[in-house]
Amino acid sequence: MNQILYDPTGETAPTKRVRQMPPASLDGKTVMLFDIGKSRADEFLDHIEVLLTDKGLTVARAAKPTNARTAPKEVMDRMVKEADVVVEALSD
C-alpha cells in the first residue's frame, strides 16, 4: 500500500534572478568593501583599500555591527545607494 507523507520543508521555490554582470571596467566606479564583523576583517580590508586606492579606484567602506547577526537594513540600503561594486567575503 502506498504511504502518504507530509512535506516538512518550507515548500518555497527559489526565485531565479539573472545575475548582474560585472562591469567591464572599474574606472569611475565606487568599490564598497563590506566588513562582515569577523575579528581582524578591518585589518584585512585596510590593506585591500590601500591596494585599490593605489590603482586609482574610489573605495567606500561599510560594516555589520556584529558577525553574529545579519546586516541591518540601513547598512544594506547605504551599500545599494553608494556602491557600484561590493566586495564581501567570509573570513576565518
Binding site: 502506498n2 507523507l5 516538512p8 553574529a68 547577526r69
Partner: protein, 479 residues
Amino acid sequence: MPFSDGLHLVVKKDCPTCTLIEPVIRDMAAIGESLYVYIQDDLSFLGDLPVTSDDRSLEQSFHLDIETVPTIIRMEDGIEIERVVGWSQEDWQTFTGIEDIGKTLPPFQPGCGALNVSPGAEEVLQAKFGQVPMKSRTIEVSGYDDEIEQMFDRGWSDGLPVVPPTPERVLRMLAGTKRDPQEIVGRIPPNLTECTIEKVAINAVMAGCKPEYMPVVLASIDAALDPLFTLHGLLCTTCFSGPIIIVNGPIAKKIGMNWGINALGQGNRANSTIGRALQLIVRNVGGGIPGEIDRATLGNPGKIGFCFAEDETDPTWQPLSEDRGFEKGSNTVTLFPGDGVHGFADNRSRTPEELTNSFAMGLQGCIHPKLAEWVFAVLVLSPEHYATYKDAGWTRKKITDEIVKAGIKPGKDLIRGAHGVGEGIDPSRADEMVPKFYEDGLMIVRAGGPAGLFSGFLTSWTGAQKKGACAPITREIKI
C-alpha cells in the same frame, strides 16, 4: 456524510452487551422500521440480517461519532435527533416506542468501548475519512519503496533515520497543542521561511517526539527566534555550536525528561528528540544545511539535538528559571548557543573555596585559555560537586559570583604572545585584570547522577565576543 432517515445501530460481537441484546435487534429488524445495523468486528454476529452492514473499516462508526457500543441513533431529515448508549430497557423502550422491548433481559447493562475510539484509531480514521487541518504538500511513497530511504533522498534527515510524517502521526502531534495548525510561529533563518504549527508538528514527528513534547518544542522555537539569540549566525558559523535547550519546571518530570544519570547523554526520548525537532526545523523549514550555509569547521554531535532538564529536586537549589526572573514552579526553556560537553573532574577539593578556584581554572579553557570576554558558558554542576557548596551554605548567586571572581586574570598572562602562544587578548590590556566572562556570562545548571565528582562545561559560540551581541534566551512553556 449523509445518513438515511431511520435507526442506526452500531455493535460489535466482542461486546457482552451487544450479544445480550441480540434478540432485541432481531425483533426490531422484523418489525420493519428502517433499521441499519453496523458491525464493527465479526460478521458472524447478526450478519444474516438484511439490515446489517460490514463496518470493519469503521467508516460509518467514525461518521456517526460512536464512542460506545451498542449505540442507537435516530436520524430525521439527515440530522441526528436522539441517541441511546449501552442497554437500558427503559431508555430503549422510550426510544423505540416498543412496549415490551427486551423485557426478559436485565434492566440495565453498560456498553463497551467502540473500536473506532481504540487508542490510536481516532487519528487514523480522521486521516482516512475525515477533514484534516493540514495544508502541507503530500508525497505519495510507493508501497515498494522504503519511506525511510525516500526521506534520506529528499534531504529531510539530519543523517539519522527520521520517523515518516504520515497524516495520522501529524494529527496526533497536533493534539499536543491547542494552537491553530496554520498559526505562524515565526520566520526560520536562514531562508526566513514562515513556519506554521503544522510544520513544527511534521518535524517533531520526524524527530521522534511525543505529542506532549510539543509545548516544549514550540517554546524552544519562540526562544530561538528572539533576535538576541542570533539563530542565523549560530546556524551558519564556523564554530562548533548549536542551540542547547535547558528545561525547567514540572513539565520536565511530566514528560519524562532526564536530569540525572547521563543527563547530557543518550537514552531518554524527550531529551533526545526535543532538541532534534528544533534542529530539523532549522534544516527543513529554514534551509540551514551543513556544508551549505552551515559552515561549521567541526561542529559537534550535539547539533543533532541537545536538550536536558535541570535537577530541581533539591529545595536548597534555586532553579535556573527563577534566577532568570520566572516565578517558582514555572515551566521554561532556556536556549543556550553552545557546543559539546567539556568534561571537568575534581576529586580532591573539599572546600567551596578550593572547588571554586578549580572551576575557574577549568573554565579558563573555554574556547582558549588566553581568550577572555569571548564566550559565555554553562557550568553543569553535578550533585557531588554541589554537595561541597551546599554543606557550606553557598547559594547559586554566591557560587556564580565567586567562580567569576576567581577567573579574573592579569592581562599580561593573556595577551597575544604571552607564554609563547600567539593567541590571546589585545596587548593594550596587559596591565588590566581581565575577567574570563562578561557580566552574566556564566550560567549554572544542576544536573547529573548521584555519584561522580564530575561536572561539565558548555561553551557558547564566539558570536558572544562583542558585548551584548547575543545572549541565552528563556521563554515560558505555554501548555
